[in-house]
Symmetry: none
């Protein structure tokens, strides 16, 4: 079963609004076994709407349209759909009552403009909008469905969840779809691809693999589609098992929305261990990632953003000689920072970072993009040198991910 999503609204095409609706709808449709063939964003323009809906109906069984249902002049979706289906608008009394009720609740005067929101094409099934005045509209013809929804995310989501998804499941016999994700850290996409090439080439045709790379991490997603759920479960588990054996050392998690900071949080919580941070070049970014996880206060004691030399010396007890002999961007400084914060905060683990994120070289002799990461554990301290290129934001993001990757490996050892 194929769907096409059409979003209507000039504000998307001038880059003013980020279209988050389509992603959400696509995800929900995929979950119930409907593939999305295409997502199309078009202008509030009659001709363009007519053309897009016609093409979408040709390509797909299900067309979901969002946007252009507001009460103002530039919202022409409803009129245009009536034209497309050679239909006329009629006042739906149930919708009038619903809209009146909404206005009574917020104590707003109910006007003719608002009443017009209850005008719908005569052949559609109007869908009640819990969070707004524009009803959804369901057009069904010859096992082809067109649904029109408002563009306001909370209204669209309410209508999808309460009406559209259940109606789709009742209308169509849908296949089973299963997704499994593996999260890896520490190997680039091309090296990873080379390492799992044979396995990938031998995947059954009903299983697809996607690489989703981002700043030192790659998500591998397997998607299987078939007639029975059991068969898919079995096949995808078998392939996952083989894959895990090929790259055990770089796998960090198996949940779609999991991040390494969440995995570290789970590990530290389980082991009742603690973490502190001494960040120079990452400038608080690792602390920000760690504390983005709800419950971080259970294991994250705190951190020092040692951006200046004086803070490294005064707060982290890095000796002036260490810095003079090796510069601040060095293994020695990174390890001294780690030692300093561990002695101060008495945590099981510590991450320390020092480097030059750019754009200009600092007073040291190190290239822009050079970062030293030190890790202290209950038993040892070590550091590694990395080169993360440019620009600044990439250096900070990759250094942060690499630091968390190193930390996770150490937590697993202890």
């Amino acid at each position: 079963m194929q769907a096409e999503i059409i979003t209507i609204g000039d504000e998307i095409l001038i880059g003013q609004i980020l279209d988050t609706n389509s992603k959400w709808i696509a995800e929900e449709l995929n979950k119930i076994g409907v593939s999305v063939y295409q997502i199309t964003s078009i202008q509030d323009d009659r001709q363009h709407i007519l053309k897009a809906v016609e093409e979408a109906q040709f390509n797909a069984d299900i067309v979901i349209i969002t946007g252009g249902l507001g009460p103002t002049k530039d919202d022409i979706t409803k009129l245009t759909l009536a034209e497309y289906f050679k239909d006329t608008l009629v006042l739906n009394e149930e919708m009038v009552a619903h809209i009146e009720q909404l206005f009574a609740k917020i104590n707003y005067p109910f006007t003719e403009v608002n009443r017009n929101q209850a005008l719908v094409p005569s052949t559609c099934i109007p869908l009640k909008n819990e969070f707004g005045t524009a009803p959804g509209m369901w057009f069904g013809q010859y096992n082809k469905v067109v649904v029109s929804l408002p563009g306001v995310p909370v209204e669209m989501k309410g209508l999808m969840t309460q009406s559209v998804l259940p109606k789709l499941q009742a209308t169509f016999k849908l296949p089973f779809i299963l997704h499994k994700t593996i999260i890896t850290y520490g190997m680039g996409e091309s090296m990873l691809a080379a390492k799992i090439e044979d396995w990938e080439n031998n995947l059954p045709t009903f299983i697809k693999l996607a690489y989703l790379p981002s700043f030192g991490t790659v998500r591998l997603r397997l998607s299987a589609k078939g007639a029975t759920n059991e068969m898919l479960e079995k096949a995808i588990s078998r392939e996952m098992e083989k894959l895990v054996k090929l790259i055990p050392e770089i796998i960090v998690g198996f949940e779609e929305n999991e991040t390494i900071e969440m995995v570290i949080g789970q590990l530290l919580t389980k082991k009742k261990q603690t973490l502190a941070l001494a960040e120079s070049c990452t400038g608080g970014n690792i602390a920000k990632m760690i504390t983005s996880v709800a419950g971080a206060s259970n294991y994250f004691v705190g951190g020092i953003v040692a951006y200046s030399k004086i803070v490294k010396i005064m707060e982290l007890n890095v000796s002036e000689k260490t810095i003079a002999d090796n510069t601040v961007v060095s293994a020695q400084t990174a390890e001294a920072m780690a030692k300093g914060i561990q002695q101060k905060y008495h945590t099981d683990y510590v991450i320390a970072t020092t480097g030059n994120a750019g754009p200009t070289a600092d007073e040291t002799d190190k290239t822009v993009g050079t970062v030293f990461i030190a890790i202290a554990t209950p038993t040892t301290i070590f550091s590694e040198e990395f080169f993360f290129g440019k620009p600044r934001e990439k250096v900070i993001a990759r250094a942060s991910n690499k630091a968390l990757e190193l930390l996770r490996k150490e937590i697993l050892k202890n």
Copy 2:
């Protein structure tokens, strides 16, 4: 001049990835006077790519394609474009050299898979990708242009800025478009709209206003389109002048990509003053924002992420009695944290934050979303209480923006 944007990648159609590229590209194209006719997201599928490119070339003068240029098997954009243009792939030696250089820098083995990234259709102009191995590709025929770019945002943006936008401006005669942005902090969108309503209603028809709100900040963008640049400059300056008079107290900057952390950086650099941070509920996010600005080491001494009570007491010298009497989420604790970090780091300014970002209530009696922000200046310390709602990420983002907004006002006074 019309453009169409095509994004290629199954991950968008299954709803795993939010397509932020198209919004960015649409915004940049609009800025140089190119309207976007349609944005289309399609699968990594040969037939589908061929069809989409053909239709886009029919609808628009300029087609910008992103995605599907990675080194792996599911990336088929390049091969399919070669087929579309009845062309063959040839090895581009300049690109080979560039990719080898990239690999040499990060000390990674250069493989056959990487060399293949330098294979490009013979008739295209390859565009050097500063941040990755996949070159961009520019196909020009009969005043119709097709451009293919990698989907990784930093790579796409680099190629657009350095190559594609300038080449489009050189190739086509584009109308004059002028944008001016005002960045405001501290007033919600609807209140702001009410305050400037009369002015907005009296704007000339060739000037459009856009509201771009985000976590406590609203960007107001004026766009004027016309035949001569001088006329636009004059008209837009006149309107800006009126607008500034209406809301002087909330305006933070006038540069499109300016952020409050950049404005603060400029102010502190100019005044040769310094800043330190004591963050609890914002967890390093303010430090991350401050250090995202190149040159932050000139004024940012460092910070303490005082996530636990013990760090507040030991490192920031907050008394146990203050916490016992008022809880950690209180004005008293926030101000004590500010005092503590200022005495320790000897900076002119200090921000301290303490609150509950949620999702669950802590041991204090404060509602989730409550945040106290304290500011210390060379002459005073004060704090304010805020309620930032939920979810967690919104509380952290709004608290960080509000803290920087308060800080800026104090810097301007001193």
